[in-house]
Symmetry: C2
Subunit: 283 residues, 2 copies
């Protein structure tokens, strides 16, 4: 049976460290402050918001939300982004996406100050993924995959890594993060002709396609480490990942569960980005 | 024998189109204006500058250089970048790199207005490579590879592409440009364990490693299209690419020569970016 790579201990280790760093900041009179920008009342957004608030309290950071009604106009959304940019007491911002519609979302992403962009929605932050600068922030979910591998001691250097899914939120930036760490990365997506071939060939397989149980036996091979980034519902409405978990548990060396895997780390990574943003104030 | 993919006809086709678009801009009183920022008098920089100036004249654009002495300070370099940003008559800027030292170069890159960043030195422009926005500019050499494949009718969608070399100027952004066009891309680099395996498996093989004759027979397989981005000197001081050209000519379907391949297209792509920057003034 495969080793199960749970996210909780990874998140706890990150949060323990952030608590210490928050303590040091508090001595200098700085309390890391996160603002969450939400439009409407989507249940998933509210649940994530609650989790993030809890983690902020755990480490000694502040958090508040700016909530706009579902029918907010573009001007109203952008006015809030401007307010966030100008407010020196705010260290970082998380914007829930999709944000109303693509036009408003991309305008908001263009406007946000990259220094406060904790989840890599601005072009400048995305560009820093290529550059590999440590003082800007990769997308939290992509970064969570790297934290998972680090925590469980899987070296990326020289490894064959296949990433399934080429989204701008996970697949593409994650692939570059892994190349920055000297992985040999193959990027697969909906137009890839033979994804199972590339998946089987990988030593580290990461699926971020968002398709329930896409990754079956024919994608898997013995010895692999499998990260399942997908959060989907199966035919019975139950939460599941991209990977056929039962098949993987029999075949591969190690696998992240869904829920309780990568998803359990992302908000801890958000805290890490927040603390780093606040620490920059002391530089 | 492999088909030889020469860069000149590709560049000519781009320049012919840009000449027409410059004509239309001229009717509106706009003359695309390029500034080249150079520190010192490196022969290679001066040669490229001459080529770019010639191409500007061909299409009806303006060009001038700002040249600082080899011992220019950081403040002096940044003052010029600021001047370029503020000057409304300048549509685009090419900065020669490496620019003095890494500290000055990265400060200059951070300062340049992304709207004038024709060769993708700013984080925001690099980020737009992920986003795939058409109104910003990918690195000219990476973009030249895409123009080469397009001109000769090689579809990228669904193809297995291997890119050797993970630089920020070519390898990494090029890989994302190819994924944006639905290629299945594998990124190899100095820490890749078995690059020949990944190279042979590719339908389109692109080498941007900067190592003379790295890509020998064991990297090649019949049917491949090979783009050679390297510009190196062989043991006799003669210009050569990354690919063992004689071996490739026997084995693969098509190959770009060095010189006269990708390198012959980059300054035409720079002109394309310049014209696009000037056209944005009319929006």
């Amino acid at each position: 049976m495969a080793k199960i790579l749970r996210g909780e201990p990874v998140a706890d280790a990150i949060l323990d460290e952030m608590k210490i760093r928050c303590g040091k900041l508090a001595e200098k009179g700085i309390i890391p402050t996160l603002v969450i920008l939400r439009v409407g009342d989507k249940a998933a957004d509210i649940a994530y918001e609650r989790g993030a608030a809890k983690r902020c309290r755990m480490i000694g950071a502040r958090v508040f939300s700016i909530v706009l009604p579902e029918d907010a106009t573009k001007d109203e959304v952008l006015a809030q982004v401007e307010r966030i940019n100008k407010d020196d007491t705010i260290h970082g911002c998380l914007m829930f996406r999709p944000l109303k519609n693509r036009d408003i979302e991309s305008a908001a992403c263009r406007m946000l100050d990259p220094a406060k962009d904790l989840d890599c929605v601005t072009a400048a932050s995305l560009g820093n993924v290529f550059i590999g600068r440590s003082d800007r922030y990769a997308p939290c979910t992509a970064h969570a995959c790297v934290e998972m591998l680090n925590y469980y001691g899987y070296d990326i250097k020289g490894k064959r890594v296949t990433v399934i899914g080429a989204s701008i939120v996970v697949g593409k930036p994650l692939s570059v993060l892994l190349v920055n760490r000297s992985g040999t990365v193959t990027m697969c997506h909906i137009d890839t002709v033979n994804t199972p071939h590339h998946a089987r060939d990988a030593e580290i397989l990461i699926s971020a396609a968002g398709v329930a149980k896409l990754v079956g036996r024919e994608y898997l091979s013995p010895g692999q480490v499998v990260l399942d980034v997908g959060i989907n519902r199966d035919e019975n409405g139950k939460l599941c990942g991209d990977v056929d978990y039962e098949a993987a548990a029999e075949i591969v060396d190690a696998i992240t569960p869904v829920p309780g895997g990568i998803g359990a780390i992302t908000s801890a990574v958000l805290m890490k980005h927040l603390v780093e943003a606040a620490e920059r104030e002391t530089e």
